[in-house]
Chain length 279, copies 2
């Protein structure tokens, strides 16, 4: 793997490239991998697009360029087919745009892979009485099981795991809480659209007690003794749930340590990131 995780920070994040035409060639931003990036911002006829694209690739080839990226806003979907016919393929898409890519050299491409995981959280909110905050969901996989489960959810794009746990708890139950520790996580594959997911069990300290549940998603919410939670037949029956309940019980008795978080500066930028480790 040549394109390293640490060095992606600078890749393709500039937003300066536009489809300005200079002598019939697209103006492009350069990346740190001898690649070029074009962003289409204005409506274009697909024949004109192809003419310019061919001339541009010819020039980039002479310049020794390798990867060619075209960021195509959904408003310019009329150009997708033309780009594909010129040998571009899909790299990724988001609701508002499609990213196409092309590789000029004869050697195999080293185009970095697309995002591969979604991140989920489960929140163990335990109060001073040894009770945990549990919910029953109206829909989804748990519907009809009658099982009381910890609040769960998906980490939003750009959101920290610790913040997602706090947010989901408040959204589902109205309880304010603060992140204490990460107790465990599991990785699973082919979870949605062939992608994988990581699910983090977070321990939170409640800052309020009175539950105000979100009615549209949550059928019920209550405080429940940890032992009662762990003793539910559904939890006992399923290996993964049972193990997580065991960890939570051990945590209640102060016989378990997970990972804490600490905000640190990245080596390659001024960005701050949380490092999770055993303190």
């Amino acid at each position: 793997m040549i394109v390293k995780e640490e060095e992606m920070a600078n890749l393709l994040e500039s937003n300066g490239a536009v489809e300005k035409e200079i002598n019939g060639v697209f103006e492009a931003d350069e990346d740190t991998y001898d690649g070029v990036k074009v962003q289409i911002n204005e409506l274009m006829d697909s024949n004109h697009f192809v003419t310019m694209l061919r001339a541009s690739i010819s020039q980039w080839r002479k310049q020794g360029k390798r990867g060619v990226w075209i960021k195509l806003p959904i408003e310019h979907a009329n150009l997708v087919n033309a780009a594909v016919k010129q040998g571009f393929w899909y790299h990724h898409a988001e609701p508002t745009y499609l990213m196409l890519v092309y590789w000029i050299p004869e050697i195999p491409h080293i185009i970095p892979a697309n995002a591969s995981h979604r991140i989920g959280i489960g929140a163990l909110v335990m109060n001073d009485n040894g009770e945990v905050l549990v919910v029953q969901e109206r829909n989804g996989a748990f519907k009809g099981t009658e099982v009381w489960k910890m609040p769960t959810g998906v980490v939003d794009e750009g959101e920290d795991i610790c913040d997602a746990a706090v947010r989901e708890v408040q959204e589902e139950t109205g309880i304010k809480a603060e992140f204490l520790e990460l107790l465990a996580f599991r990785q699973s594959h082919k979870s949605f659209f062939g992608k994988s997911d990581l699910f983090f069990v977070c321990m939170l300290k409640p800052l309020s007690y009175k539950i105000q549940k979100q009615d549209s998603e949550i059928k019920g919410a209550q405080w429940m003794h940890m032992e009662e939670y762990a003793a539910q037949p559904f939890v006992k029956k399923h290996e993964m749930f049972n193990k997580i309940a065991e960890i939570c019980l051990a945590k209640k008795k102060n016989k378990y340590n997970g990972f804490s978080k600490e905000l640190m500066t990245s080596a390659f930028s001024a960005k701050k990131s949380y490092l999770y480790f055993n303190q």
Copy 2:
């Protein structure tokens, strides 16, 4: 968040839906969220596609369907623009296809988010002499720093974190190793294409000693005393690197415990997943 992480396993993973025409309407697979999925497998004229799509949506609306998914192989890029004009938007794309989505009801959509993270690993391979396996990279962010760093890489789609660490070590240095423990991880945002990443520091036990480095990516590889690794100016200077080196030094002295892995069965399928926790 209504569509839960656990229940995505069954969503859209069937491959039975085809564009079979029944009375001018697409034959579609149903999902567990009152959604339908169409996969285009054969070449189609875009006018005919639009006619069928309109008739199909009309029928699905009467049936109370909500999300409509069209999986469009890149060979059928000629239909992208037509679908967008009918109100579809991009959900995600992979090199071989584009997934388009449409929402029928008048209420706000609950279409699940696309994958948001890439997963990276760093491998601390420590031998019985307290030496760690380090490399210098030819390219990328570390180029020119002369820093000796642990082998790093990106987790392939569908790959377990523990396996990725073992694979990257072997690819870069020829050293066979086995996963022992997860020491720490950090989450950072806007790392590539606006997506986030999680970077896991894994402790590995070497099963061989003789280094055979991969020349194209790796400039140098050697065994180095952990103290010497930690004392490098680059490591000392950068907060995150320094903290990770401290954790590794503590691990060498058996004064640190990370998360171990255990293979477990999921509650909702026969799938096996690793749970990482403090054993």
